[in-house]
């Protein structure tokens, strides 16, 4: 008797608290928390605080922060949290490539509450950090196995940072060999933009290969682009089309042939765990996003954890420190003359290391493979449910199997009804389903990015292993319903959302939003409020 989404969709309404801006709450004099002040013996000995700060550095006007009692602050933020569709609360299938995996509550609790994790200073004597260092070391070992690489660094605190760290290693490698001519990096348009931007940050010129109808990069174009100026190829496989490039090893070989390194963006390895690895295809470096593949929480957009994996040859260039084990004690090695140096202060995001370690320990080799298999089943099942929805189409490589995600397009719907992916994303919220992620290239906009011309009105759902058949059915039913509405009552969709925490932001304002930075004081100034 569970709800059948074909006949009855969830009657959803987001919590709407209509909360004031925190800046406007409270009354002068209210306090949210008190702090431990200096004992009178101390103050009488050292004197006023103002005498301990150089006069010219004393703050003359107090910061214009609000003054709010604790009950009100707590209520305010609790209410705002209810107005947020976190992934452990909503149906996040739409967040494709951003993989919203279930974050087991047990690992969240242990890593955010246990004083043996939260109350550690990173510079404590190593003898007092043996537990956490053991987790680092063992997670490194595990990721060596999942990737097939020879060395792992857990210093990076995001996927982008891991790609940047990989670019730094590439740079240091070529420099160490006196090879200074290589100033180009090749990537593909459908690889995550960080594969272009992070090497560019390291000073590389970036050559971008365009996608072909086959959904995979064109080998000839690659070969044409490769040269003795190529430092490395940065690539994802599958890209968010979900089409696996079976010639990936040939691509790697072609790069190696010109002396370039190959870097695999395995941020999202949900469809690959236990099936294929960077090693088998011959890659020199790769990275994982623990927040996509190993179930660390996204935290509203970080903190995150990027695991950098490299071959033996590149190990000396990894960022400092390296977590070592001599059979008895775990330690941090800082004496690494070829290292690219520090990428992140201290030792990275230790609590996320703890969570990823925990999650893998829970699954083991069979479990990780189960993740991949179910992710791929889920995705292909969703495809069956979506494929006949009017107005929706699949880009690239019609008829080919997909792994963990697929890039769809609402182009036909837009052409026929004027309802585009932005409208649909707003409308989804009315059904209690998280807006889909268009891909890393959103919306229609003057400054329309290249990728958007290639797949416009994009939608990239990813029903990873955390979702049940019911969840997928519901997601598909919502899509079907919105398509129907677009043809029958397009205004309903265009004026969405109707059941969100807020009402629709009309397009001119929406453009304001995305082009204007903001704080409450700037807004008030702009609107002549106060």
């Amino acid at each position: 008797m569970a709800r059948n989404p074909q006949t009855l969709l969830r009657d959803y309404h987001a919590a709407r608290w209509d909360e004031e801006m925190i800046m406007d709450l409270g009354e002068p004099g209210e306090r949210g928390v008190k702090v431990p002040v200096a004992e009178s013996e101390i103050t009488s000995r050292v004197g006023d605080a103002s005498s301990l700060v150089p006069t010219q550095l004393l703050r003359r006007t107090p910061p214009a922060l609000p003054e709010v009692s604790q009950p009100r602050v707590n209520k305010h933020y609790t209410r705002l949290s209810q107005e947020t569709m976190g992934s452990n609360v909503g149906n996040d299938i739409g967040q494709g490539t951003c993989t919203m995996k279930y974050n087991p509550v047990s690992q969240l609790h242990v890593a955010t509450r246990h004083p043996g994790m939260t109350e550690l200073h990173p510079l404590q004597d190593e003898s007092t950090l043996q537990g956490i260092l053991e987790m680092y070391y063992k997670l490194q070992e595990m990721l060596k196995e999942t990737s097939g690489m020879d060395a792992v660094s857990l210093q990076s605190c995001g996927g982008g940072q891991a790609i940047y760290a990989n670019a730094s290693v590439v740079r240091a490698y070529h420099e160490s060999r006196g090879d200074h001519q290589r100033d180009e990096v090749i990537t593909t348009l459908l690889s995550h933009p960080a594969n272009a931007a992070a090497p560019a940050t390291a000073g590389y010129k970036v050559v971008t290969l365009m996608p072909t109808e086959s959904g995979i990069p064109d080998m000839d174009a690659l070969k044409a682009a490769l040269s003795e100026r190529t430092a490395a190829v940065f690539i994802t496989n599958p890209e968010d089309t979900g089409v696996f490039n079976g010639d990936i090893d040939k691509l790697v070989q072609a790069a190696h042939d010109v002396g370039a390194l190959c870097v695999y963006d395995m941020a999202n390895a949900n469809g690959l765990l236990g099936i294929t690895r960077a090693r088998e295809a011959g890659f020199d470096l790769c990275h994982y996003n623990a927040h996509k593949t190993f179930s660390t929480p996204h935290g509203s957009m970080g903190p995150a954890l990027g695991a950098q994996c490299v071959t033996k040859e590149l190990e000396p260039f990894l960022p400092k420190p390296i977590v070592c084990f001599d059979g008895e004690r775990y330690s941090l090695k800082y004496d690494c003359p070829h290292s690219i140096g520090k990428i992140r202060s201290f030792i990275g995001n230790a609590s996320l290391v703890c969570m990823a370690y925990t999650w893998i320990m829970n699954h083991g080799a069979d479990g990780l493979r189960e993740v991949a298999e179910v992710s791929v089943i889920n995705n292909n099942y969703l495809y069956e449910k979506l494929k006949d929805i009017p107005g929706l189409t699949v880009y690239f490589a019609e008829g080919r199997r997909r792994l963990e995600q697929i890039r769809y397009s609402w182009d036909p719907l837009f052409a026929e009804t004027g309802v585009g992916s932005d409208h649909i994303r707003a409308r989804m919220v009315d059904y209690g389903v998280q807006s889909f992620f268009a891909s890393h290239h959103v919306g229609r906009h003057e400054e329309e990015p290249l990728a958007d011309q290639i797949v416009s009105e994009a939608m990239t759902p990813e029903p990873c292993e955390s979702f049940s058949k019911d969840d997928i059915d519901e997601y598909a039913a919502v899509m079907a319903q919105i398509s129907k509405e677009a043809y029958e009552t397009p205004e309903l969709v265009k004026t969405a959302p109707h059941n969100s925490s807020i009402h629709n932001v009309p397009i001119p304002f929406m453009e304001d939003i995305v082009t204007q930075a903001g704080t409450w004081r700037l807004y008030k100034k702009a609107k002549n409020l106060d």
Binding site: A14, M21, M23, G32, V35, P36, E39, E41, V46, A49, L52, Q56, L57, L58, P62, A64, L65, V68, N74, L80, E83, S87, P122, L123, S127, K138, Y164, R171, A194, A197, A200, T201, T208, I248, G274, E280, H291, H298, S300, M301, G302, S345, A350, L352, M361, N362, G364, V374, N378, R401, F437, E447, E465, S466, P497, P506, I513, V514, A517, R521
Partner: protein
């Protein structure tokens, strides 16, 4: 695989019957068919060699807690380590809010689905810009050093110059990070270090003046510095930068800003620092978060990460939020950006917002006062010990360098002995700054009572004498 037909609690469709039904709908007879595009020679041979899993939650948690118990933590020990990661009081409301499943597990939801998250971030920006008295703030970066490094690249873009001046007293690890970040295959930024006055620990103005030039993209200072001291000539340094058309980048400690002037008040064009002090547990360094702020639209346009914008909805008095400046970031501009962006540390900015909202101006003032007084008390008492001196004579905020040369003991020995008394002594500086001799960087925050400090003094006395 999974021949035992194990059902995993976190993988609903691992139920064999369900999988079978789904495969039927897909129209294939086995999951293998879905992987047909992956050639056999690219497949992993056999099963991965991973530790035996612990399938049940209780045993797994026991295993993990056992490991965590192998650490000694700062609730059981008296901690005087700082150097960028600080033990401050964390109001429970901060834990409560960042532990709410909605915030903790959210990610890329937008205007309508994640309104609350955006409002919380927008409010953080609004609170933090009040604290900094500067108008523009990006979503936070990986950590303070990353923010500093990014600020220097901003400066290079703004000025079209490729040289930056940094104080020699900068944390060597920060320096290492910056150097890697401003390095470039094609067009690296040159890092020049400015000397420090040996007595005061503050910037050597003569050396600065001799090094600053029309090539200088930025003068960068830390206030308070890595070694704890305030930079009393901060304003003068800013004027020097201004005169040369350079950016003035100031790294500051946000928890000091209830009593200490924010960088904008003495001329900084870009301010940066780390948010960890504002409501985050140390978490072994896992709660660092770099903020970066600009004083005007020109600087704002150079921020590498997104900001949060506000607009009116159709309903009067109601607001919606979205990422602002996103088209300028590498999400859209890809390699046309000088810097990449990505998942940063949003949860910590929400938390820092909660912290500032709880503290208000009065709380920020009191915590600043408490820290500066307690730290001074500790330094005064320490300097009474025989053979022990406080190295610099300038005012400082919460950290100060203690020299043990007169005791004939190494910092390493002293710290080991302190550890035996459940005290985490200051960071050993002897390897990274040998010119300071056997010195350690002590940190005292509002979390230390007079009694805690007295316990330290007694222990130091016993250990050094």
């Amino acid at each position: 695989m999974n021949e035992q037909n194990i059902v995993y609690p976190y993988i609903p469709n691992s139920v064999p019957a369900v999988k079978k039904e789904m495969l039927e709908t897909i129209g294939v007879s086995s999951v293998e068919a879905l992987f047909e595009d992956i050639p056999q020679h690219l497949r992993i041979k056999g099963k991965m060699d991973l530790p035996e899993p612990i399938h049940d939650e209780y045993s797994l948690m026991r295993h993990v807690k056992n490991l965590l118990s192998k650490n000694s933590n700062t609730s059981e020990n008296l901690n005087f380590l700082g150097a960028g990661c600080y033990e401050h009081a964390v109001p429970a409301v901060c834990d409560e809010i960042n532990g709410r499943a909605e915030f903790l597990t959210a990610y890329a939801g937008q205007t309508y689905s994640d309104h609350g998250k955006f409002q919380a971030m927008f409010e953080f920006n609004s609170l933090m810009t009040e604290l900094l008295d500067m108008d523009f703030l990006a979503l936070p970066q990986y950590d303070g050093p990353a923010a500093a490094a990014s600020a220097l690249r901003m400066a290079a873009r703004l000025t079209g110059r490729r040289e930056v001046l940094l104080p020699r007293s900068i944390n060597p690890e920060t320096l290492s990070l910056i150097k890697n970040y401003v390095h470039s295959v094609t067009d690296p930024i040159n890092v020049v270090l400015v000397n420090i006055d040996g007595e005061s620990g503050t910037l050597d103005m003569e050396d600065l003046k001799s090094k600053v030039s029309d090539n200088t993209a930025a003068i960068y200072i830390e206030n308070p510095g890595y070694l704890g001291t305030f930079e009393p000539k901060a304003e003068e340094i800013g004027n020097i930068a201004k005169d040369k058309g350079a950016e003035y980048v100031v790294y500051c400690d946000p928890i000091s800003l209830g009593i200490v002037a924010p960088p904008s008040h003495y001329g900084a064009t870009i301010a940066c620092g780390d948010l960890q002090a504002l409501g985050m547990h140390m978490t072994c360094g896992g709660a660092q978060a770099g903020f970066i702020a600009g004083g005007d639209a020109e600087r704002a346009a150079q921020l590498k990460d997104v900001m949060i914008g506000i607009a009116d909805t159709q309903k009067q008095g109601e607001y919606g939020f979205a990422m602002a400046g996103v088209f300028n970031t590498s999400y859209f501009a890809r390699e046309d950006c000088d810097e990449y962006t990505g998942s940063g540390t949003a949860l910590w900015c929400i938390t820092a917002g909660v912290y500032l909202a709880l503290m208000g101006p009065k709380g920020m003032e009191e915590v600043g006062q408490s820290i500066v007084q307690k730290a001074r008390y500790a330094a005064d008492r320490i300097s009474e010990l025989e053979g022990v001196t406080v190295t610099f004579n300038s005012p400082f905020f919460k950290e100060f360098v203690v020299n043990f040369d007169g005791t004939g003991k190494s910092v390493e020995d002293i710290n080991q002995a302190l550890l035996g008394q459940n005290i985490f002594g200051g960071k050993d500086l002897s390897a990274e700054l040998p010119e300071l001799g056997q010195s350690a960087l002590y940190c005292v925050t509002e979390t230390k009572t007079q009694q805690d400090i007295d316990v330290l003094i007694d222990a130091l006395k016993a250990v050094t004498q």
